[in-house]
C-alpha cells in the first residue's frame, strides 16, 4: 500500500512531477551521452595510437629507445617470421627509424624518418589510405617521401618538391640525402602529421648503413583483447628485446582512459547533485502541502519508519520514473551519432587533432558503466529523500492536524 500511495502521490501534481521527471531524464541523458562521448573520444585516440603511432605491439633493442641510435638494430631478421606464427597476429611492419631534420631552401623542421616496406606498412598502419595528395610509394622509384599535411603546409611545400633529410648513421656520421615529395598523408593527429615522414626502407637502411636490418617491428593484432596474451608470448620468445604494447608506448592514452572513466562518473555525480536540489524542493513542497495528511497518518498509527519509507519510496519512484526516458533518449542519440559521427572540426577546428584525438567522435553507449550510473541515480534519489523525510518525521500530529 505504501508503494501504491507513493506512486499515486507523485501524480497529485502532474505538472510539477513532469518537470522533475523531465529534469531527471535530461540530466541522465546529459550524463550518459557525455560518458558515450568520452568513450568515443578514447576509442578514437586508441585507434590513432594503434593505426598511426604504435600498432598494438612494438619490438626494439632496449638500447635503441634511449637515444634512437641507428646502431641498435634488431639483429635477426627471422624474428618477423617467428612473430607471424603467433595466433592473433594480423600483420608485421619492419621499420628503420632515424631522428633527423627535413630541410628546404627556406626552412627546416625536426622529424622522425621512418623507413618502411610499402606492402607491410599498408597492412599495419594503412598508410596508403591516408594519402590525400599525390600517391603512395610506387614500386621501382627511389627517394620518394611521404609527408604529413600539417608539416607540408607549415613548410609551404608542394608535391614534387625536393627536401633534404639529415640524420646520423650507425657510425654516428652525419648523412644527408635528397628526397622528392610524392605524397601527402593526413592523420587524425596533427602532432603526428608534423613529426613523421616516410621513406622507402631500402634507401633509409642504406643511408644508415644498416642494410637488411630493422630498428622496429610493429605488430598489428586482429583484436585488442589479445594484446596481453601476445605481449606475454613475445616476451617469452624474445627475452633480449624490448616488447612494448601501445599502452606503454603511449602511457598518456592509458592514463586518459582511466582518468576519463572516473572523471565522467564524477561529472554525472555533479549533474545528479544539481538535480537533487530540484527533487528536494519538489518533495519538500509536497510534504508541506500534505502536512495535515501526514499528521492524520501519524495520528492513526503510521509509525515513523513507515512514514520515512513512504517519503523515500515517493522520491525514488519520482526519480526512477524519469530514468527509462533518459536512457532511451541517450541510447537513441548515441545510436544516431555513433553512425554519423560528431565532427568537432566544424566548431573547434583542429583542437582535438592537435591533442592527438580524432576530430570526428563516434560516441559509444557506455554499457559497462550503466550499473554505476544507475547506482548514482538511486543514490541521488535516496539522498534527496532524506531532508523531506526528516521534515515529515519531525511533525507532531496534533500540530499538523491543525493546519
Amino acid at each position: 500500500m505504501i508503494l501504491i500511495m507513493a506512486w499515486r502521490n507523485i501524480w497529485r501534481n502532474k505538472s510539477r512531477s513532469t518537470i522533475i521527471l523531465s529534469s531527471v531524464a535530461i540530466g541522465l541523458f546529459a550524463g550518459v551521452f557525455m560518458l558515450a562521448l568520452y568513450k568515443g573520444m578514447i576509442d578514437g585516440r586508441i585507434r590513432i595510437v594503434i593505426e598511426d603511432e604504435a600498432s598494438h605491439l612494438q619490438l626494439h633493442r632496449p638500447e635503441f629507445k634511449k637515444d634512437y641510435e641507428a646502431a641498435y638494430f634488431i639483429p635477426d631478421s627471422g624474428i618477423a617470421r617467428s612473430i607471424s606464427t603467433i595466433e592473433g597476429v594480423r600483420a608485421i611492419a619492419p621499420r628503420n627509424i632515424a631522428q633527423g631534420m627535413v630541410s628546404t631552401g627556406t626552412g627546416s623542421n625536426g622529424v622522425e624518418v621512418r623507413g618502411v616496406l610499402a606492402d607491410s606498412e599498408r597492412l599495419v598502419s594503412g598508410l596508403d589510405r591516408k594519402i590525400t595528395a599525390g600517391h603512395y610509394f610506387s614500386s621501382g622509384k627511389k627517394n620518394e617521401l611521404l609527408i604529413g599535411k600539417r608539416l607540408f603546409d607549415k613548410m609551404k611545400l608542394q608535391l614534387g618538391n625536393k627536401v633534404v633529410l639529415t640524420f646520423t648513421d650507425k657510425d654516428n656520421n652525419v648523412v644527408s640525402a635528397a628526397f622528392r615529395i610524392t605524397g601527402v598523408f593526413q592523420s587524425t593527429s596533427s602532432a603526428f602529421e608534423e613529426r613523421v615522414v616516410y621513406v622507402g626502407n631500402r634507401e633509409l637502411a642504406a643511408l644508415l648503413n644498416t642494410p637488411g636490418k630493422f630498428h622496429e617491428l610493429a605488430v598489428l593484432l586482429y583484436k585488442n583483447e589479445d594484446l596481453d596474451k601476445a605481449e606475454h608470448l613475445l616476451q617469452t620468445r624474445f627475452p633480449n628485446l624490448l616488447i612494448e604494447s601501445w599502452k606503454e608506448i603511449s602511457p598518456e592514452t592509458e592514463l586518459a582512459i582511466s582518468t576519463t572513466n572516473q572523471l565522467s562518473l564524477i561529472i554525472i555525480v555533479i549533474i545528479m547533485l544539481a538535480l537533487a536540489f530540484g527533487i528536494i524542493n519538489t518533495m519538500l513542497m509536497a510534504i508541506l502541502e500534505r502536512t495535515r495528511e501526514t499528521g492524520m497518518m501519524l495520528a492513526l498509527g503510521m509509525n515513523k519508519p513507515r512514514l520515512f519509507l513512504l517519503v523515500l519510496a515517493e522520491t525514488i519512484l519520482l526519480t526512477l520514473a524519469g530514468t527509462p526516458a533518459g536512457l532511451v533518449l541517450s541510447w537513441g542519440t548515441i545510436y544516431f551519432t555513433s553512425r554519423h559521427g560528431i565532427n568537432t572540426a566544424s566548431f573547434a577546428k583542429d583542437l582535438m587533432s592537435s591533442f592527438g584525438y580524432s576530430s570526428v567522435i563516434y560516441p559509444r553507449f557506455p554499457a559497462d558503466q550503466l550499473i554505476s550510473v544507475l547506482i548514482i541515480v538511486a543514490a541521488t534519489a535516496i539522498l534527496s529523500a532524506l531532508f523531506p523525510a526528516i521534515k515529515a518525521l519531525r511533525m507532531r500530529p496534533v500540530e499538523a492536524l491543525r493546519r
Binding site: 500500500m1 501504491i4 500511495m5 499515486r8 502521490n9 497529485r12 495535515r292 495528511e293 492524520m296 497518518m297 501519524l298 495520528a299 492513526l300 498509527g301 503510521m302 509509525n303 515513523k304 513507515r306 500530529p397 496534533v398 492536524l401
Partner: protein, 251 residues
C-alpha cells in the same frame, strides 16, 4: 462495564513560562466501555485539546491518562503511535481521508499497518462497508464521494483497527442535516450492536440529543456531566461535579 479511559487530574497549559493559559484544567474523567458520550462547550472551552490528550496525540502537563490500564502519558512517542494504532479510532471534522486511496484502501490501510492478513482484511472490509452502507462505493476515491459518504468511510477507518474507543472531533460539523443524521444512526447502531465506545466533541444539538452522556466543558474545566438515557432528557439542569469529584456514569 470495564473502564476504558481513566484520566486523573489532567491539565494542559499553553505558554507555561509567560502567561499560562489552561486549555484543560484539572480534569478528571472516567469512561466505560460502550458509552456514547458528547463533549460539549463553547469554542475555546478545551474540547479538542481534551480529545487530543485522551487520544494520545498530545501530552498533558499535569496528571495521567490510563487507557485500559496503560498510562499513555508515560509512553514514548513511538510506543504511543503503536498504541494509537491498536487502541484508538479517530474521526476528524474534515474527514481527512487519503485522497489518492480509494474508500476501501483508506480503511484497509489501517489494517495493513496492524499486520492483519489479506483474507482477514477483506472479511473486515465487507462487514464495515455493509455497516456504513457504502458497498457500491468501495472503489471510489474520496473526491468522488459526498461529505457524508466520506465521513462514513472515516468511521469505517476508525473502526477497522477494532479500537477500544473512537474519538470523533466535530464529526457532523461539515455535513448537511440528512448526512449528519445518517452518520449518527450508523454510529449509534455500532455503539448498540458492537458496544463500541464513542466520544464526540460537538456543538451540534443533534449529536448532543443522541448522546447518552453529555460532558460540558467551560474554560478547560468540566462544568457538568449528565447521563441522558432518555434522549428527551432535560439538559437545562446539568449535574456540576467538582474537579475532585469524578463524574459517574449510570449507563
Amino acid at each position: 462495564m470495564n473502564t476504558v479511559i481513566d484520566a486523573h487530574n489532567i491539565s494542559k497549559i499553553y505558554n507555561p513560562k509567560t502567561i499560562p493559559v489552561y486549555a484543560v484544567n484539572n480534569v478528571h474523567l472516567h469512561l466505560r466501555r460502550g458509552e456514547f458520550t458528547a463533549l460539549v462547550g463553547p469554542s475555546g472551552s478545551g474540547k479538542t485539546t481534551l480529545l487530543n490528550l485522551i487520544g494520545g496525540l498530545d501530552k498533558p502537563d499535569e496528571g495521567r491518562i490510563e487507557i485500559n490500564g496503560t498510562d499513555i502519558t508515560q509512553l514514548s512517542p513511538n510506543r504511543l503511535i503503536d498504541f494509537r494504532l491498536h487502541n484508538i479510532g479517530f474521526v476528524f471534522q474534515a474527514f481527512n481521508l487519503v485522497p489518492v486511496l480509494t474508500a476501501e484502501e483508506n480503511v484497509e490501510f489501517i489494517m495493513q499497518l496492524q499486520g492483519i492478513s489479506h483474507r482477514q482484511r477483506q472479511q473486515r472490509l465487507d462487514v464495515l462497508f455493509r455497516q456504513i452502507g457504502l458497498q457500491d462505493k468501495r472503489h471510489a476515491r474520496p473526491a468522488e464521494l459526498s461529505g457524508g459518504q466520506q465521513q462514513r468511510v472515516a468511521v469505517a477507518r476508525a473502526l477497522a483497527s477494532r479500537p477500544q474507543f473512537v474519538l470523533a472531533d466535530e464529526p457532523t460539523a461539515n455535513l448537511d442535516s440528512k448526512s449528519a443524521a445518517n452518520l449518527l444512526d450508523i454510529m449509534a447502531t455500532l455503539n448498540q450492536e458492537e458496544n463500541m465506545t464513542f466520544i464526540f466533541s460537538t456543538h451540534d444539538q443533534r449529536v448532543i440529543e443522541r448522546a447518552r452522556r453529555v460532558i460540558t466543558l467551560v474554560d478547560g474545566r468540566i462544568t457538568s456531566d449528565t447521563d441522558a438515557v432518555d434522549t428527551s432528557a432535560d439538559h437545562s439542569t446539568p449535574v456540576i461535579p467538582t474537579a475532585a469529584e469524578p463524574a459517574k456514569s449510570q449507563t
